[in-house]
């Protein structure tokens, strides 16, 4: 009886551990790759000339001065490579729980440790009929 209980607790623990692993390895993050003059960690970093950014094994993106691009990554551990202004910087980093991060390329190239910060995603833009309450509907014909 005790053995059975022990096995059940062990199985439950394994499922919980697996769920935590799935959660952390599957968590999606949006990285806003920013090449604008920005103040990060109390220091101002001026926008640099066009940079090419590669995150993990994703397609490289080219960001002109004053522009911003975004990539979506999955999991906690990542690698970013930034090439521009005659230098190439490669950095490994870990992302916390938040959904969206603002990554300053000038700060990264300047070697500032506070080159990314969490950013709260904007609420969906209010449409013209935003005052109207969306009514849940049921009983429609379904796609099959």
């Amino acid at each position: 009886m005790l053995r059975k209980l022990f096995i059940r607790i062990l199985l439950l623990g394994a499922v919980v551990a697996f769920s935590v692993f799935l959660f952390s390895s599957g968590k999606g993050h949006t990285l806003l790759l920013d090449n604008k003059t920005a103040t990060m960690g109390g220091h101002e970093h001026a926008a640099v000339s066009a940079v090419t950014v590669t995150v993990d094994s994703l397609k490289p993106v080219k960001i002109l001065p004053g522009e911003r691009d975004l990539v979506v990554v999955k999991g906690v551990h990542h690698r970013i490579t930034v090439s521009g202004a005659g230098v190439t910087v490669e950095k490994r980093f870990e992302l916390p729980f938040e959904d969206m991060f603002l990554c300053s390329m000038p700060a990264l190239l300047d070697g500032d440790d506070a080159w990314f910060e969490a950013k709260r995603p904007e609420a969906p833009k209010a449409a013209d009929d935003s005052n109207k309450e969306e009514v849940p509907v049921a009983g429609e014909i379904l796609p099959l």
């Binding site: 959660f23 979506v72 999955k74 379904l142």
Partner: protein, 377 residues
């Protein structure tokens, strides 16, 4: 002898034969090419097969067609809503949704099985009505508790009033993740190999399960509950297990279904899951008391083939594609009604046959001549 065999075959497979004839007639009318139809059938087979297979185990247990699979579908949807809120992408999202859905579907399956044990002989109508009841609870949770009592971080999921989930949830993070896990393309036809492997695994599980002690118990319970009870089989417990397995499989089936579509209609997606899955199984030649894996395959292929071609065939015949939409509703409900009528008719015939066997052939003849005599008088 041969004639009676043919007649029996025709009666037993009347619905399937009717659908084959309808499909053969509709395909040329629709104007669709065969490669297109083949691709569509492959996609829909992968999308729906798991849900249809989830119906088999309660049939083995003699509990008829389990309309209660909508309970499992709701559990799967709750898992998907939470996964979308937490922004879990890829296969991790699908697996996590399944893990979240499993305890909910086990609990709902236990409720469903317990209720069915109190309504023996009327399992189908009981599970059908129970689906409506649990749908009410689901709406309470999703429409009022999510965003208020249950935290929802993603504001895009919440209704503008600040609580309750929107009508449509975009499953972009897990859209066709399973289908594209092992991409395979043969002669321009895309095959969702990973989905088919999951379906094959479920088929193997069902075949293996039927041979286990529990599977044998289920069959014994399905054949005669009284005898099974006398043989020491815990009938009620076995029936509850059958429904729990079916509900959990339906939960996974709904997740597979929705990952393929890529959009969750929060208040609609589950409502007719049971109806369409049951209709597909019956079209494949299954009955209320007997269903096999080939029945499920044939049924899904025929049901969806007609669904694909009927709007265009309707447009050609009547000038309106909308007729196809009505047609599929008509087919779903009509086919279930026909199957239930056939089931009642067969049971009455079987009962009459067994009664006449008990009386003995001679007695029956005597009875017939007596009746004839009365009529003549």
């Amino acid at each position: 002898m041969n004639q009676s065999k043919t007649t029996r075959f025709l009666i037993n497979n009347a619905v399937t034969i009717l659908f084959v004839i309808l499909s053969i007639m509709s395909i040329p009318l629709s104007g669709y090419s065969l490669p297109y139809l083949f691709q569509e059938i492959l996609t829909r087979l992968g999308r729906n097969m798991f849900l249809v297979l989830s119906l088999l185990i309660p049939i083995i247990a003699g509990m008829g067609l389990n309309f209660g699979i909508v309970l499992g579908a709701m559990a799967g949807q709750i898992g998907l809503i939470l996964v979308s809120d937490w922004n879990i992408l890829g296969m991790q999202g699908i697996l996590l949704a399944a893990i979240i859905g499993t305890p909910i579907s086990v609990f709902l399956g236990w409720i469903c099985g317990s209720v069915m044990n109190r309504a023996k002989g009327r399992e189908m109508v009981t599970s059908y009505i129970l689906g409506f009841f649990i749908d009410g609870l689901y709406q309470l949770v999703v429409l009022y508790l999510m965003g208020s009592l249950i935290p929802v971080l993603n504001r895009a999921l919440v209704l503008s009033r600040g609580y309750g989930i929107r009508n449509a949830v975009n499953l972009v993070g897990i859209r066709q993740v399973l289908d594209n896990l092992l991409p395979l393309q043969i002669a321009g036809v895309r095959i969702p190999l990973a989905t088919y492997l999951v379906i094959a695994a479920l088929c193997l599980f069902i075949v293996w399960f039927r041979k286990t002690k529990l599977g044998q118990d289920l069959r014994a319970v399905g054949q005669d509950m009284g005898t099974a009870e006398a043989a020491g089989i815990p009938v009620e417990r076995t029936r509850i297990i059958a429904i729990i397995i079916s509900t959990v499989l339906a939960c996974y089936g709904q997740i597979i279904f929705l990952q393929n579509l890529g959009t969750l209609n929060t208040y609609n997606s589950h409502t007719q899951t049971g109806m369409f899955a049951i209709a597909a199984l019956l079209i494949g030649g299954a009955s209320v008391v007997k269903a096999t894996i080939p029945n499920a395959f044939i049924g899904v292929i025929l049901f969806h083939l007609l669904f694909i071609v009927s709007p265009m065939a309707g447009k050609e015949l009547v000038g309106s594609a909308q007729i196809g939409e009505y047609f599929r509703q008509f087919i779903s409900f009509g086919i279930i009604a026909v199957a239930l009528v056939l089931h009642a008719w067969r049971r009455r015939n079987e009962a009459e046959q067994s009664r006449s066997l008990l009386r003995g052939g001679g007695a029956r003849q005597e009875g017939q001549s007596r009746t004839a005599g009365i009529k003549e008088d």
